[in-house]
């Protein structure tokens, strides 16, 4: 086997693919339209890059897939499972019911099978209430029509046994294969946010299975026997089996992949990333080669979760954005876009819609499309000014100091961004910028994470910290990382106010290179 890597990014508009050689240098790339049936789009892209690189499928050691299927399923409330939502914590927690703050259409999409059952733990691991097995069995049978279960027990990040027991009972009562999402594997302390994330995860298992199967089928079709991975929210990788169980961890992988890819292609470790797609532009920050994470609770489909997600500003500007000419010649760009129909509807492709791409084609000698559209000089100037102002404002918001910083522009619509942005020390448009997403997922590391409450009076801070680090590292190795390259890349420590015993919550993330 020859250590090549294939990175594929299935977006709403395009499927991008890239092949990296043994030294992780890009040697082939393509952008093809995303197809309704996912695997044929993957196959088209795969065949094209194999041809360009002049290698066979046997030369691929690793194949990584970045996908927005889960994100779109939540946004469009499509293909979601009926979920049996169990909260284990009664008699506590009844003052706020599960899913109380969910938008009605999303709550309806996963059904109304919700129960609060006896059980749960205290912060120090004592039992809050014991579980009542016969009550659980009865409730599981009452929910026998659901597609999957979400189980959230009070303080399960400290003690997971009640959640584990519920999963066993579900499998005993119903079917060994029914997916059961357990909250301690998904979120951290903060019951409602963790419960929301767990319910969303359970809602997504069918969509994830479909995407994973398409991915596996495409590889089988070409007899490729590589290890398969999915990109996840923090810019690291997970195995396909893991992605089937935890699809919620893929929902923000797109922006993370483009930030990581931009860092890799440009060699810039700290700066601002501007990722220009067909419909939107994401502006994110790069800190030591990783996406800066948001400090506030992140909403997915208008539901609060306690995930840490990339800190992003999304602008409604992309290559397919409509150019709107208002009264008195006022020009704005987007948010409506022709999206994937750019090659039919844009003027430069003989269509009838004036898009942001047309403005650039008209203003410079870019060789895009079939014709060079005529656009009034005044419109060009105003549209460019509009884009510049919007992007400069977003860059300024993302910066952490007034000094100019490097700005890396990637994505298919990069031509829209001027190279003399205010606030930028330099604007980089690295080679292969248009497939930065696919590069980002192809170079990603595998990671492990731990989030636990320790009583420092029992063991001292160093012992607690060592325990957390060791656990995070062993989880990374379990996920496929080479033990020698695993390093801790994030530590967070939150003292738990008011509690004696010097209780502290420690979160550690570790990541390493794939074994090669």
């Amino acid at each position: 086997m020859n250590g090549h890597r294939l990175g594929i990014d299935v977006g709403g508009t395009n499927t991008d693919a890239v092949i990296l050689d043994e030294a992780d240098a890009p040697i082939a790339k393509t952008k093809t339209p995303t197809t309704e049936d996912i695997s044929s789009g993957i196959l088209d892209a795969l065949d094209e890059v194999l041809r360009q690189a002049d290698i066979s499928g046997d030369d691929l050691e690793y194949v990584m897939l970045g996908t927005t299927h889960a994100t779109n399923a939540i946004a469009e409330r499509k293909g979601l499972n009926d979920v049996g939502v169990f909260r284990i914590g009664s008699p506590a927690t009844r003052s706020i019911k599960p899913l109380l703050e969910w938008p009605n259409d999303l709550a309806d999409a996963i059904g109304d099978d919700i129960a609060i059952l006896d059980g749960g733990h205290e912060f120090d691991g004592r039992e809050l209430n014991s579980i009542d097995e016969s009550e659980i069995r009865e409730q599981v049978r009452a929910f026998d029509h659901v597609d999957s279960f979400a189980v959230t027990s009070v303080f399960s990040p400290v003690r997971e046994d009640h959640e584990e027991r519920i999963a066993e009972i579900v499998h005993e009562e119903l079917d060994d294969d029914i997916p059961v999402s357990l909250s301690h594997e998904i979120g951290s302390v903060g019951l409602l946010e963790r419960e929301n994330a767990t319910a969303l995860n359970a809602a997504l298992t069918s969509v994830a299975a479909e995407a994973a199967q398409a991915f596996i089928d495409a590889m089988d079709e070409r007899s490729i026997d590589a290890q398969l991975y999915f990109g996840q929210n923090d810019g690291t990788l997970m195995s396909v089996e893991y992605a089937l169980d935890y699809p919620i961890f893929t929902v923000a992988s797109g922006p993370s992949n483009s930030v990581r890819g931009a860092a890799y292609l440009s060699g810039i470790e700290n700066g601002i990333i501007v990722d220009v797609g067909g419909t939107t532009t994401d502006v994110g920050a790069l800190t030591d080669g990783f996406p800066r994470e948001s400090s506030v609770a992140v909403e997915i489909g208008e539901v609060k979760t306690n995930f840490r997600m990339p800190d992003l500003i999304a602008l409604g500007i992309g290559g397919g954005s409509h150019i709107n000419i208002g009264p008195e010649g006022k020009v704005t760009v987007g948010p409506e876009s022709v999206g994937y129909r750019l090659t039919e509807e844009a003027r430069c492709f003989d269509g009838s819609t004036l898009t942001a791409t047309d403005v650039e084609v008209a203003a410079s000698d870019l060789d895009i499309g079939d014709t060079n559209p005529t656009v009034e000089r005044d419109t060009v100037q105003k549209a460019r000014e509009y884009i510049r102002t919007e992007v400069e404002r977003a860059v300024d918001q993302m910066k952490t100091s007034p000094e100019p910083v490097p700005v890396v522009v990637v994505g298919g619509g990069s031509i829209l961004i001027p190279t003399d942005l205010d606030g930028a020390s330099k604007v980089y448009k690295p080679d292969h910028y248009e497939v930065a997403n696919a590069v980002g997922v192809a170079i990603a590391q595998v990671s492990g994470e731990v989030d636990r409450i320790y009583s420092l009076d029992d063991q001292g801070r160093d012992t607690a910290m060592d325990d957390a680090k060791a656990e995070a590292k062993s989880r990374a190795v379990e996920a496929g990382a080479d033990e020698d390259t695993v390093e801790v890349f994030d530590i967070q420590e939150v003292p738990l106010s008011y509690l004696p015993g010097n209780a502290v919550r420690i979160k550690v993330k570790a990541a390493g290179q794939l074994d090669r």
């Binding site: 914590g89 009664s90 008699p91 506590a92 927690t93 009844r94 003052s95 706020i96 019911k97 109380l100 703050e101 749960g120 205290e122 912060f123 120090d124 004592r126 809050l128 209430n129 009070v154 303080f155 302390v189 903060g190 019951l191 409602l192 920050a285 800066r292 400090s295 506030v296 918001q397 952490t400 100091s401 007034p402 420590e493 939150v494 003292p495 738990l496 106010s497 008011y498 509690l499 004696p500 010097n502 209780a503 502290v504 919550r505």
Partner: protein
């Protein structure tokens, strides 16, 4: 017209409570959701003008006590507050006329709204702090000689504990220990007092102030006005600083989340640093050029520079662009007795309290 707390204006109360929480007091989000569910089930809560409480009527404040991190995980059952409340009524041999918040800032601003809805009692438009403080005895009622006890403490399991103590400091100590045994959080009914005592010793109209603060920030955003400017106009406050957070250091001391945030000045504050000391709540703000610009008991609150949304100390994070504002505290706190209870020296700062308006002139 009588003011009502409804599903529509509840979020304004919550925003205002976070501003008055001065970085601490627990996240009002949980209290707001409890109030939302309780209002859905029992209907809106009447916000009672303190002037309309009969002189001999009994007002029984309610609160949640414990660690904020436990409160966001082990949510209340809902009935423990009514258990605590009703136990106290039986003990005192008198029915309560209304409940009240002892703390207009943070979580305990919105929790009593849920209690009021459950009990179908009105909520008095007043509190005992006008902001948030970490301990039970830190209320203006203590200065008025009103006892925190008899206090009843209840958990979700159906346990309840009654306290009778020598003074309010002892009440704090026993209540705190009990809360740990109860799993880190519990509900209390405390500081029972009459309508006459209410008007003399409590901080009046603080709940409607919280609602006005929330409304001001929300409408300023809707009208593209500057939410911080509008907030300062409403509260006679001062902008202390604007900048980006450079560093946040946190540790636990005596059960408190203690730390300092350093903010690097931008705009008219460029070239200066602001050091913000907190012990659950923000306590002292030091400008590298002007020295102390505000201290407890005056209110120091950090807001998002763009949206004006208040930020708790747990949410302070590197790179965040913020504006820091100072708001004068209730007059009661500026007396000798008030400063002894909640002045800088109580929190181990060897500094003389100066009212924020004097520091600003």
């Amino acid at each position: 017209m009588t003011e009502q707390i409804t599903l529509d204006n509840l979020d304004d109360f919550a925003t205002g409570a976070t501003v008055l929480g001065t970085g601490g007091g627990g996240d009002p989000y949980i209290g707001t959701l409890m109030a939302r569910q309780a209002i859905k089930e029992h209907g809106p809560v009447k916000l009672l003008d303190p002037q309309n409480v009969p002189a001999d009527a009994l007002v029984v404040p309610s609160a949640m006590l414990g660690a904020p991190t436990v409160m966001i995980e082990k949510l209340p059952r809902g009935s423990e507050s009514t258990d605590a409340f009703e136990a106290l009524e039986v003990y005192m041999g008198q029915d309560a006329y209304a409940t009240m918040s002892i703390e207009a800032g943070g979580l305990n601003s919105t929790v009593p709204i849920a209690v009021a809805a459950e009990l179908e009692l009105p909520l008095v438009d007043a509190d005992g702090m006008g902001r948030a403080f970490p301990e039970v005895q830190m209320v203006t009622m203590t200065m008025g000689g009103i006892s925190a006890t008899p206090m009843s403490i209840a958990d979700e399991k159906g346990n309840s504990v009654f306290l009778e103590t020598q003074d309010n400091q002892w009440a704090e100590q026993f209540a705190r220990t009990t809360s740990i045994e109860m799993g880190g959080s519990c509900m209390i009914a405390t500081y029972a007092h009459t309508g006459a005592e209410l008007r003399e010793h409590a901080i009046l109209n603080s709940m409607s102030l919280a609602r006005e603060i929330g409304e001001t920030i929300r409408t300023a955003k809707e009208n593209s006005a500057d939410p911080v400017e509008e907030l300062l106009k409403l509260t006679d406050g001062f902008e202390l600083f604007e900048g980006k957070i450079l560093d946040v250091e946190r540790r636990t001391e005596g059960g408190f989340a203690v730390g300092e945030a350093t903010i690097d000045g931008i705009q008219s504050y460029e070239g200066r640093l602001l050091q913000l000391d907190f012990q659950n709540e923000n306590l002292v703000a030091r400008d590298s050029k002007h020295g102390i610009v505000a201290s407890v008991p005056d209110l120091i609150t950090v807001l998002d520079a763009e949206t004006g949304d208040p930020i708790t100390t747990e949410g302070l994070q590197y790179g965040h662009r913020v504006r820091v504002v100072g708001i004068p505290c209730a007059e009661q706190w500026r007396t000798d007795a008030g400063l002894e209870l909640v002045g800088p020296r109580y929190f181990d700062y060897d500094i003389e309290y100066k009212p924020i308006e004097n520091l600003q002139s």
